[in-house]
């Protein structure tokens, strides 16, 4: 029998990190096809149409589920066309710069409590930092560069206008997004996402009940940060063709799509983590679950499912809102961000601090 090399703590954690990241990556790669399918079928239902329902597997049509898979394959085998007047380096780099921060973001989410494999305790977040919340805010800030560079490097009118609009919008809504989370830090006293979840030990301690205004601001910023309807001015099809990715095609276009959907998923997860107790199942304590199932790992898996279900609701909300609300005007968008959400966020922080100090 072969002797297995003895692993020390560092080696195990490094291997675990890479494995966890690959699992997250494979999972995340499945989000755009499924979400695009949902985004075609759901509006079809809402508008009494059929939507894509042909592409299937031999005689099984599977409600058109394979349509987006076919689209992805098509995109990869397309010719890559680069505009002659584009800045080549930045043009090729921009989709990557757009994608990498979102992958870092989703890696920082704690998907569940720690599991145990062979006596090693492995946390279920790829990156576990004590300043997790600040890390996430910093990383979302980098995402703006991808959009800005894509539009500028394309050297086209529509791309530039789309990217200017998108970047101005994203930085404007980053401030209320940051402000909306401060009351939670005040209440729970931590920046570590895992500890924020553990602090919401019962349903009545969830962020949405302790700080509902924060949730309102965060929800609005969630839509604005990802440039989704009703804040999708940066890709207003009727005015700007497609916005900042007008000149992109083939796999690079697919990367932009991937980045957008990963960002949506990561923000949905963050929303569940901060306001809805993360991986905790309502009314069932984690210890109860461990004794009920008799295994830490199975209980952790239940937690992961709970978080994914909560996140799925917000993904659904994205689609629902998109086909319900009309688009804002640009001056309205800026007015909401700077003149409504920013003062509201600041006031929310001040009031929360005063109430907490008075109660202490």
């Amino acid at each position: 029998m072969m002797q297995l090399p003895v692993l020390d703590e560092t080696a195990v954690q490094i291997i675990a990190t890479i494995v966890k990241f690959l699992v997250v990556l494979v999972g995340v790669l499945h989000i755009p096809p499924v979400m695009i399918w949902v985004e075609r079928r759901v509006p079809a239902l809402m508008q009494r149409r059929r939507g894509p329902n042909r592409v299937g597997f031999f005689k099984w049509r599977l409600w058109g589920l394979l349509q987006t898979l076919a689209d992805a394959v098509k995109l990869i085998f397309k010719e890559e066309s680069v505009p002659g007047s584009a800045y080549k380096g930045f043009f090729h780099l921009a989709p990557l710069i757009g994608l990498l921060p979102t992958l870092l973001f989703v890696s920082a989410i704690p998907f569940g409590p720690a599991i145990e494999i062979g006596g090693w305790k492995i946390p279920l977040s790829v990156i576990e930092l004590d300043i997790g919340l600040l890390f996430i805010l910093a990383v979302t800030g980098v995402g703006v560069y991808g959009v800005t560079l894509a539009g500028w490097a394309s050297n086209g009118k529509f791309s530039l206008l789309g990217s200017l609009r998108a970047s101005a919008q994203m930085i404007s809504y980053e401030i209320p997004l940051g402000l909306s989370l401060i009351p939670l830090v005040l209440i729970y006293g931590s920046l570590n996402l895992q500890q924020l979840i553990l602090a919401q030990s019962s349903v009545w301690k969830w962020g949405i009940f302790l700080s509902p205004i924060s949730f309102l601001i965060f929800l609005i910023c969630m839509f604005a940060e990802t440039n989704r309807a009703p804040f999708d001015l940066s890709e207003g099809e009727s005015e700007l063709v497609a916005g900042f990715h007008t000149e992109y095609g083939s796999a690079k276009f697919a990367l932009f799509f991937l980045g957008e959907y990963v960002a949506m998923f990561a923000l949905s997860c963050l929303c569940s983590v901060l306001f809805f107790g993360g991986w905790q199942i309502p009314f069932v304590a984690h210890e109860q679950l461990v004794s009920l199932t008799g295994s830490v790992n199975i209980a952790a898996l239940c937690g992961v499912m709970a978080l994914l279900l909560k996140a799925a609701f917000f993904m659904w909300l994205y689609v629902w809102v998109r086909w319900t609300l009309p688009r804002f005007r640009y001056d309205q968008l800026m007015k909401i961000g700077w003149k409504f959400l920013l003062p509201l966020g600041l006031a929310n922080v001040c009031v929360t601090a005063l109430v907490l100090a008075a109660l202490a």
């Binding site: 490094i14 990190t17 890479i18 990241f21 990556l25 990869i76 085998f77 010719e79 890559e80 066309s81 505009p83 002659g84 007047s85 090729h92 990557l96 990498l100 992958l103 870092l104 890696s107 790829v126 990156i127 576990e128 930092l129 004590d130 600040l134 890390f135 805010l137 800030g141 394309s154 050297n155 086209g156 009118k157 529509f158 791309s159 200017l164 930085i171 404007s172 980053e174 940051g178 402000l179 401060i182 830090v185 063709v241 007008t246 083939s250 796999a251 690079k252 697919a254 990367l255 640009y330 001056d331 800026m334 007015k335 920013l342 600041l346 922080v349 001040c350 601090a353 100090a357 202490a360």
Partner: protein, 116 residues
């Protein structure tokens, strides 16, 4: 293990996979470039490019963003240590926020945030 090592690991793995995906169609797709195909898309008319001046409002938004974003980061540090600082922290941060709100009111009065 150093807590920031996973960040580096994730970044390097993601960079490799991203680069592969990014240049996938450069290898797999056909290559038939032509002068017309490589023009930027401007609805079919002869393109005039985008080297123009932009509205000054975008610059103002960017500058104001830096100001208020740094304020937000300061507030995070205070929020984390809120319980140990007590009333002293509250008074100090309210002074800080008051000065910033004065600046915010000035910006509003000068109509730097009007988009029309």
């Amino acid at each position: 293990m150093h807590p920031y090592l996973p960040v580096l690991l994730v970044l390097s793995v993601a960079l490799v996979i991203g680069l592969v995906m990014s240049f996938l169609s450069a290898f797999l797709g056909p290559k038939r470039p032509s002068a017309v195909k490589q023009e930027v898309f401007e609805c079919g008319v002869a393109p005039i490019g985008s080297r123009e001046r932009m509205s000054v409002r975008f610059y103002m938004t960017a500058i104001l963003f830096i100001l208020f974003d740094i304020e937000t980061v300061f507030l995070y540090l205070w929020a984390r240590t809120f319980k140990s600082l007590g009333w002293f922290g509250i008074v100090e941060i309210f002074l800080f926020v008051t000065i910033l709100v004065a600046g915010y009111v000035y910006v509003l009065k000068r109509k730097a945030l009007e988009w029309d």
